[in-house]
């Protein structure tokens, strides 16, 4: 059988971009041919049994017929290990997986919202469907915004980029959802075709609330810990309003915002280890 979702992806480009962010370009022709905005790949950062599981990363761009791009932030030991790998090395990769963003109606002006490190899938989306779109970028401070090169790409692809930082170090001071709310209110009853959001759960919940108030269709890209990425382990469940759970990797990662039961998962959890907690050597 042709194996179009199993790859030995060669690292072509791997560079730090901004604080704790890395850009990686992987050669994986079948994945590059198949990936849609909002889909993700499962990447094994080592061939040993520790770390064991593959890590999910949203596809941020198709670079060529044979390669795709990811952006990642060092969040723990897996991403730290990944960041030490060099071009030429090959990684096991599966995917693309999941349901991507629905394609916006032709000629429509969608609204995009990216919080923290949630920008990669929206980058891909912008390039494909962003000509008339407005993007709202939010972060704690300017260091936590996407790297400048990424903001530049967004600006190239989109109609407008709005920025909010909580400390006011770049763009408007405040949370991105306030900026979004002001924008939506300023539209004077005109509503955007749809909102597409990716970022921390509390932000997605807030965006979802704004969209619901204004009856704007809203799609959110969710994150949950994953083992298989392909619907088998039932590990990546998110609670849904109709009761029970749906799988982020299969029914998602993009969900209609109204489906999600926002209250049922606390999002505060700590990621990988800080320096002083990990295995040390002289």
């Amino acid at each position: 059988m042709p194996l179009t979702k199993l790859h030995k992806a060669t690292i072509l480009v791997h560079t730090p971009v901004g604080k704790e962010y890395y850009r990686i370009v992987l050669r994986a022709p079948e994945a590059a041919a198949a990936a849609l905005p909002g889909q993700f790949v499962m990447l094994r950062v080592s061939e040993t049994m520790d770390p064991l599981l593959a890590r999910p990363f949203g596809v941020s761009s198709i670079i060529s017929k044979s390669s795709l791009e990811l952006y990642y932030r060092i969040a723990g030991r897996g991403t730290a290990l990944l960041s030490s790998l060099e071009p030429g090395q090959r990684l096991s990769m599966h995917g693309p997986f999941g349901k991507g963003f629905p394609v916006p109606p032709k000629g429509s002006a969608p609204v995009l919202v990216a919080g923290g490190s949630g920008f990669p899938p929206l980058l891909f989306f912008s390039h494909r469907f962003g000509a008339r779109a407005h993007l709202f970028l939010g972060a704690r401070n300017k260091e936590c915004l996407p790297p400048p090169a990424v903001i530049k790409k967004f600006k190239d692809d989109l109609e407008k980029v709005h920025i909010a930082t909580e400390d006011g170090s770049r763009g408007t001071r405040g949370v991105v959802t306030d900026l979004l709310a002001a924008y939506l209110s300023g539209l004077d009853g005109k509503v955007p075709a749809a909102i597409y959001a990716c970022g921390p759960r509390p932000m997605l919940a807030a965006v979802s609330g704004l969209a619901a108030e204004r009856s704007v269709p809203c799609y959110v890209s969710m994150e949950e810990r994953m083992a298989c990425g392909l619907g088998a382990c039932m590990g990546c469940s998110v609670g849904v309003k109709t009761g029970g759970y749906k799988r982020v990797c299969k029914e998602g990662p993009v969900f209609e915002a109204g489906e999600i039961e926002w209250g049922c998962r606390e999002s505060n959890e700590s990621k990988g280890s800080e320096e002083f907690l990990t295995l040390k050597t002289p």
């Binding site: 979702k5 199993l6 094994r44 064991l52 088998a232 382990c233 590990g235 609670g239 009761g243 505060n268």
Partner: protein, 311 residues
């Protein structure tokens, strides 16, 4: 040193009356209902598929987070989420029946009656080759009796299931016991046809900064390569103590790992967590077994079962 043979080695296994074309199965809960792996594995190549645990009624499972990675292993507390036996029969089994592979249905219940009812429901269903009775899930607290760690309860439950079905009954044992061979004997006494071991070890992990358990369920089942030495030991102990055929599992990633179980006494093996890190793990294990047998001049896989010795 060992002469190579020319003929293709015979990998077929008669497991408790179930004809397997080879000893490589999928561990319950790690391969969905087969369809999830269709992009990676031609199911016709597998000895069989042991499906995700099925109960009488649908189960929504535990709240997230449900999984956590640990050194060479993972914790899960899925809570046996499944669509229930009716949906399984109408929506999942028809897909599996399209393939030339044995379908073993993993079943469980929250009560004695539930278990028996689901076993009855599956009796005589075309396309079902056998039942694997999960008396060992560490994530199910309801029901009061912990069948997997109480000898008498295990015996009674398995006896009742034995009576409820003509299908081969395989008891899936818990490793969280002092002496697994006692449970194996209880299964034999109850009339079971085979054994599956091991299920996951009960474990826990804590987010130290938030001072919270990593799993919403607090504890979960530890699986993956980390537990393999424990699993191999239990298969070895059990194979010596009880004449029932064994499906060995726990951390199998490669053919070498599978061979450890077979040499320890397992007649078949199941690949579990490895499917997550290599969706073609089952096929790779199978191909490795074949190569190994050819290289070592082993004619039939059965010739390796239990063949560990001081040398």
């Amino acid at each position: 040193m060992i002469s190579k043979i020319k003929t293709k080695p015979d990998l077929s296994v008669d497991f408790a009356g179930i004809k397997l074309k080879n000893p490589v199965l999928t561990a319950s809960g790690t391969f969905g209902y087969g369809e999830e792996y269709a992009d990676f594995v031609d199911l016709n190549t597998l000895g069989g598929v042991i499906v995700k645990g099925i109960s009488l009624r649908p189960i929504t499972g535990n709240p997230p987070p449900r999984i956590w990675e640990t050194p060479s292993g993972m914790l899960n507390a899925i809570g046996l989420e499944n669509p229930g036996v009716d949906v399984f029969l109408t929506e999942k089994l028809p897909y599996l029946r399209k393939f030339d592979t044995a379908v073993i249905v993993n079943i469980f219940g929250y009560s004695f009656e539930d278990y028996v009812a689901v076993a009855e429901r599956l009796d005589g269903v075309p396309g079902v080759s056998g039942l694997e009775v999960n008396i060992s899930c560490p994530n199910v607290k309801a029901g009061g009796i912990v069948f997997g760690t109480d000898l008498k309860a295990a015996f009674e439950l398995l006896s009742a299931i034995r009576k409820a079905t003509k299908l081969p009954v395989i008891a899936k044992l818990s490793p969280n016991v002092t002496d697994i061979t006692e449970f194996a004997k209880a299964a034999r006494d109850a009339g079971c046809d085979g054994l599956s071991l091991i299920n996951t070890l009960l474990g826990m992990s804590i987010d130290v900064r938030c001072r919270k358990p990593r799993l919403a369920n607090w504890t979960g089942g530890l699986s993956g390569p980390a537990i393999r030495p424990v699993a191999v030991r239990m298969v070895w102990q059990t194979a010596k103590a009880v004449p029932l055929p064994i499906i060995g599992m726990g951390g199998i990633v490669t053919a070498e790992d599978a061979l450890e179980f077979i040499l320890a006494g397992a007649s078949a093996v199941a690949v579990g967590t490895a499917n997550f890190i290599n969706p073609r793990a089952t096929v790779d294990v199978l191909e490795g077994l074949e190569t190994f047998m050819t290289e070592q001049g082993v004619g039939a896989i059965g010739d390796l079962v239990g063949k560990v010795s001081a040398g």
